[in-house]
């Protein structure tokens, strides 16, 4: 009975070693050192074919795609792999977590939310914690205190915060009162004058033709139509432009955060 138990234990041990011993990390380091992307991918795909359910192989594939900036494939692996073993591999590798975090916040809101939700039950490294806090800060600027940000990032956050407070409806109204003023409110100082000038010229053209020939004259109809189109699109443009400005400032801040906390230690 005892002998049987020992045999079983040995077989289990052998099996476990076989699974975890598949990935030759020194060979992977060799590929990374020489930037041998093709060979590296072939090796990982070969392992994946041989051991489709091996989490270590999936983890190495995720690392590969992250390293070679193939973010869509990395994201696909991340979304398809929900096992605890894989999560442990992801979140217990400090370099991987830091590297993935600073890449993820540059690649869209949904990815970041998904990533930080998954990581919530793990003890995250310090850099990732800071990145996560910065991400939460832009998600809820009024709820979080920004004092934890280093001085280099404060100005970018201040810029984001300033524009995030502004209301698109105000930009639209300002442009209705003085064409181009809404753009100035959105921070686009250089577009104010051209916008004002273009609308004034169109207004004057319409005024001149109506004044001389009346509103029913075809030329008056054309010039009035042109003026209306320019005037309304200026209001519409100012309204939507502020939304774009807010997204730009948000992304710009997150890029700065990403650069500040970036690390190159994915493999070594």
């Amino acid at each position: 009975m005892e002998k049987k138990k020992n045999k079983l234990f040995l077989i289990t041990l052998l099996f476990a070693f076989q699974i975890y011993g598949q990935v030759d990390s020194l060979l992977i380091d060799h590929f990374v050192d020489g930037y041998l992307k093709r060979e590296h991918l072939f090796y990982l795909n070969k392992l994946k074919k041989e051991y489709p359910k091996n989490d270590t192989v999936v983890f190495e594939l995720a690392k590969f795609h992250l390293y070679y900036d193939n973010f869509n494939s990395f994201e696909k692996i991340l979304n398809n792999s929900k096992s605890d073993t894989l999560n442990n591999l992801f979140f217990n590798d400090t370099c991987f977590v830091n590297y993935a975090s600073f890449q993820i916040i540059k690649n869209g809101q949904a990815n970041s939310i998904n990533w930080f939700n998954r990581s919530s039950s793990y003890n995250l490294p310090q850099h990732t914690k800071q990145i996560q806090k910065s991400f939460l800060l832009v998600e809820n600027p009024s709820l979080t205190d920004a004092s934890f940000l280093p001085s280099q990032l404060q100005s970018y956050y201040a810029d984001f915060y300033k524009y995030n407070k502004r209301k698109p409806i105000v930009a639209g109204l300002l442009s209705a009162i003085v064409p181009g003023l809404g753009k100035r409110y959105n921070g686009r100082k250089h577009t104010f004058l051209p916008s004002l000038l273009l609308n004034s010229i169109n207004g004057f053209l319409a005024y001149e033709s109506i004044h001389r020939y009346g509103i029913k004259n075809p030329y008056s109809i054309i010039t009035t139509g042109m003026f209306s189109v320019f005037y309304l699109s200026n209001i519409y443009g100012s309204y939507y432009d502020l939304k774009n400005v807010q997204i730009e400032k948000r992304n710009s801040f997150l890029y700065e955060v990403s650069d500040y906390y970036s690390t190159s230690c994915l493999y070594k």
């Binding site: 072939f42 010229i201 001389r212 030329y219």
Partner: protein, 276 residues
């Protein structure tokens, strides 16, 4: 007996499915490089790897990277070295990296003093786009052997000199009558369009001024007439450039037709010696 046939069949199918793909070959060579225990072994495996790229006609950054990993001083066999230098000169010439092609070609020539026609043709291909002095030397050397056969190679350096004359004349014609220069360059449709839009914009501005809409006339003349007029000149310049490119492309095609028989007779081929 039946089992033997089945086993043979399985082995056959296995061999078929194991048709060497480039990726697999590169991976296998790289794993051998990784486990090689001497620099000379690494070097010969790298040569094999470079030849694999050439065999698959894969002229990419990977070939460049792996070729630069080879230590030329480590190669002891002179035939292997000669073939490698030749192959790299041809490959870099295909990739249009003429500096490296020149370097490998010169190394090859230093080592072999090869005066064959194929070698001179390779030199002509490499120096053609970069160094007219060397090109002329090789050209003279080839024509001295057989001027009737090789004189057509001269066209390789003449492609860049193909130009269309009198650009200013066409532009001035368009300045005097919008669209005329474009029409003289035989682009009648765009020339007529240019003439029509310019005439229409001038007529519209004239009509506005005649009806005492002075502000409108000023604005439209500034916005339309100026744009159509300057656009007409830009169009003429662009048409001239297109015609010049067309002339050059026709010349290049003619040149290619002339020199193809020479390259068929003296082909520039890779010299693979890794047992492929």
């Amino acid at each position: 007996m039946r089992y033997l046939i089945i086993i043979a069949l399985v082995v056959c199918i296995n061999n078929l499915s194991a048709q060497t793909s480039l990726e697999r070959d590169l991976f296998e060579l790289e794993t051998q490089i990784y486990s090689a225990n001497s620099d000379s072994a690494v070097n010969s495996l790298l040569i094999k790897k470079v030849e694999t790229y050439l065999l698959y006609k894969e002229f990419s950054y990977d070939l460049v990277r792996d070729s630069r990993r080879i230590n030329l001083l480590e190669i002891t066999d002179s035939l292997t070295k000669c073939n490698l230098l030749w192959n790299l000169a041809v490959a870099y010439n295909i990739m249009e990296d003429y500096n490296y092609a020149t370097y490998y070609y010169e190394e090859y020539y230093k080592l072999t003093k090869d005066e064959s026609i194929n070698t001179k043709l390779l030199a002509i291909m490499i120096y053609g786009p970069t160094d007219s002095l060397y090109f002329n030397d090789y050209y003279a050397s080839l024509t001295s052997r057989n001027s009737a056969k090789f004189s057509c190679l001269k066209c390789l350096t003449e492609i860049d000199d193909i130009k269309l004359d009198h650009q200013k004349r066409y532009i001035n014609a368009s300045r005097i009558l919008p669209g005329l220069g474009t029409m003289l360059l035989k682009d009648y449709f765009n020339g007529a369009g240019s003439l029509f839009f310019n005439a229409a914009s001038v007529t519209a501005v004239y009509a506005l001024a005649k009806n005492q809409l002075y502000f409108g006339a000023a604005i439209w003349s500034f916005m339309l007439v100026k744009r159509f007029y300057s656009g007409n000149i830009i169009l003429t310049k662009q048409t001239f450039k297109d015609k010049e490119a067309e002339k050059r492309s026709n010349f290049a095609e003619e040149c290619s037709n002339k020199i193809t028989p020479i390259f068929n007779e003296f082909p520039i081929e890779f010299r693979l010696n890794s047992g492929y």
